[in-house]
């Protein structure tokens, strides 16, 4: 054990300042992440010791290091006094003990009081864990084919699958409730139904229009990249399934949408109830308070669940690679490259647009949204990134809290430009691959169907598979291609969700600015 420093003082206010400033400088030099918490806790305890002993008292403050762990030690002679119990601690010390996660300990021996405080080790940033999980899954994916199949099958079925299911189950339980309270709390912050109408119409029209425009322009530009077989279209007249799915937005009862995780229906219920609450105004002030507090609980709950993200990412991606092999990349390199390129270009375009408009360095802008981007990219779930997105919107992008809560939940569901483009690429590729005969009108039906069906996709990993089967059947793509198409769309889902999360941030910046709800000072920091 090495002693880092040992300070001896007669305790008074000047000594407290000197000790804490010394410790602050030292921990800053060592790049200790919990510097502020440690310094605050030490100062608070020293203040309580000072207040307790009427006469001046000598204290010794030292720091020791053992096995990479730093420990602070405060000793003072005299009568027994424990400044960290509920009875003896000062009011600010009680709050610090309750909130900062530090656990000092006290002992009294041979008339010497001793407090020890282990300084928490630095931990990796959350997105570092996600990247580690991603890289680990790729390595496991490369190793997988060389392991005994019995082993990989067992691990895949009994461990990876279960880990993945546990996370998705937890997320599914709370996702619908979170969306509900988030939209409702966002609406509660609006002044009137006309305010709701103005903001809602603006946000929805922008979001949906960009999706439709993307489908038409992107769908047209992609055509030269594929070789189609023209003739009488082999199109299934199963449009009824798709129309039913889209028009099913009206729920038949208030419980089933939450049980089934139907986000569109949940969103509709939230918007209606929110509008009614605005009309009722002060008569429902307590319910409004309940909604806001419930929203806080739900966000904290989902954030807590998302601590399991690295495990889920490793389990899910490893299973994906083991089940399908990395060879799929060789067969589908063209659509894969197109998907990556289109998402990259569109995201860069939006980042550049905001960067130029608000005069922010594009690298700094991307760095702000990176935490939510990496979650979206590695989980294919905008819901998993939701809590982080809200935090970034408010603390780094300057978007009004109420608008962020309202718009992010809805836009995660409805924003689909890059998802639409990814779907179109998959449909085009497999139409070419299977030699399915098409006609020019076929393209228009592809654009319209993909545009309409995207909002119905649940914002969780694997949600896109729900729609894939219907679309494949609709456009006459043989069932033999379904497995490969499903794998490809799953991979695309990761890429397009990462991109979508960034695009939603950029859209919300411009929308908030248009509505006078953007703090440009925070955005430019």
């Amino acid at each position: 054990m090495a002693e880092v420093f040992n300070l001896k003082y007669q305790l008074n206010e000047e000594a407290i300042v000197e000790i804490t400033e010394y410790l602050d400088d030292l921990l800053k030099k060592y790049k200790i992440q919990s510097k502020n918490k440690t310094v605050f806790m030490l100062e608070s305890m020293l203040l309580d010791i000072r207040a307790h002993y009427i006469d001046t008292i000598d204290v010794s403050v030292s720091m020791r290091k053992r096995l990479g762990r730093n420990t602070l030690r405060v000793t003072y002679a005299g009568e027994e006094f424990n400044p960290i119990t509920t009875d003896e601690a000062g009011p600010q010390t009680q709050i610090l003990l309750a909130n900062m996660g530090l656990v000092p300990s006290w002992s009294y021996k041979e008339h010497i009081n001793e407090i020890t405080l282990a300084i928490p080790r630095n931990h990796l940033r959350d997105d570092s864990y996600l990247l580690i999980a991603l890289i680990s899954s790729v390595i496991a994916g490369l190793i997988g084919p060389h392991l005994p199949q019995a082993f990989t099958s067992f691990v895949s079925e009994y461990i990876l699958c279960k880990l993945s299911d546990i996370f998705l189950s937890f997320l599914s339980v709370f996702a619908g409730i979170l969306i509900f309270f988030s939209i409702l709390s966002g609406i509660c912050g609006m002044e009137s139904t006309s305010d709701l109408s103005k903001k809602g119409r603006y946000m929805l029209s922008r979001t949906l229009f960009s999706g439709l425009l993307g489908a038409v322009i992107g769908g047209t530009l992609f055509i030269p990249f594929f070789r189609f077989t023209y003739g009488a279209a082999d199109v299934n007249n199963g449009m009824e399934d798709i129309y039913r799915m889209i028009l099913d937005i009206i729920p038949s009862d208030p419980v089933t949408p939450f049980m089934e995780g139907n986000m569109l229906q949940i969103s509709l219920i939230a918007v209606i109830l929110g509008g009614i609450m605005i009309l009722l105004d002060n008569r429902v002030s307590q319910v409004r308070e309940l909604v806001l507090q419930s929203n806080t609980i739900m966000i904290s709950t989902v954030e807590f669940i998302c601590r399991l993200l690295p495990i889920y990412i490793f389990a899910d991606l490893t299973k994906l690679f083991w089940d399908n092999g990395l060879d799929i990349i060789l067969i589908t390199w063209k659509p894969l490259t197109m998907c990556i390129a289109i998402n990259l270009l569109y995201t860069l375009y939006k980042l550049a647009r905001v960067s130029l408009k608000y005069k922010i360095d594009i690298g700094a802008l991307f760095k702000k949204v990176f935490p939510s981007f990496i979650i979206g990219l590695t989980t294919a779930s905008s819901m998993a990134a939701y809590g982080t997105s809200l935090d970034i919107n408010e603390s780094k992008l300057g978007i009004d809290h109420g608008y962020s809560a309202f718009a992010t939940a809805l836009k995660n569901q409805l924003h689909s430009t890059n998802g639409i483009l990814s779907f179109i690429i998959v449909i085009y590729f497999f139409t070419q691959y299977s030699g399915t005969t098409i006609n020019p009108a076929w393209f228009v039906s592809v654009w319209i169907v993909v545009f309409l069906i995207n909002p119905a996709i649940p914002p969780v990993s694997g949600g896109v598979l729900v729609c894939m089967g219907i679309i494949m059947d609709q456009f006459g793509i043989p069932a033999s291609c379904l497995g490969m198409a499903a794998t490809l769309i799953m991979i695309f889902d990761f890429i397009s969700t990462g991109s979508k999360v960034v695009l939603v941030h950029m859209d919300e910046i411009e929308e908030a600015d248009h509505l006078g709800l953007l703090n440009k000072k925070i955005l430019s920091e």
Binding site: E14, I16, V17, K37, F40, E43, M100
Partner: protein, 97 residues
């Protein structure tokens, strides 16, 4: 640290400038003085560079008094001070504008 106060009926606004630590906190306490009759207490932290546990203790004491007789608001805190409020859990205790 300098602290100046502005009384407007039963509303008291205190402007704090500089660093609020163990040495300067007693000075703030004496400026705050007796809060009898004050129904609204505002701390304007626009020029406050840093606040330590000692400073938080003074604000907390004022908050407890004002909880019984009115309202206390902390406003215009800079990013560093807001980070301290957030990290220490005091963000939930004070009414921040």
């Amino acid at each position: 640290m300098t602290a100046t106060k502005q009384q407007d009926g039963n509303k008291l606004t205190i402007y704090i400038e500089g660093k609020l630590n163990a040495v300067t906190s007693p000075e703030l306490e004496s400026v705050i003085g007796d809060l009898a009759g004050t129904e609204e207490l505002i701390f304007d932290l626009k020029d406050l560079i840093y606040i330590s546990s000692a400073g938080l203790r003074v604000l907390l004491t004022a908050q407890k008094i004002m909880d019984d007789q009115g309202r206390m608001v902390v406003r215009n805190a800079n990013k560093d001070v807001m980070d301290i409020f957030k990290e220490t859990g005091f963000l939930k205790i004070f009414e921040i504008e």
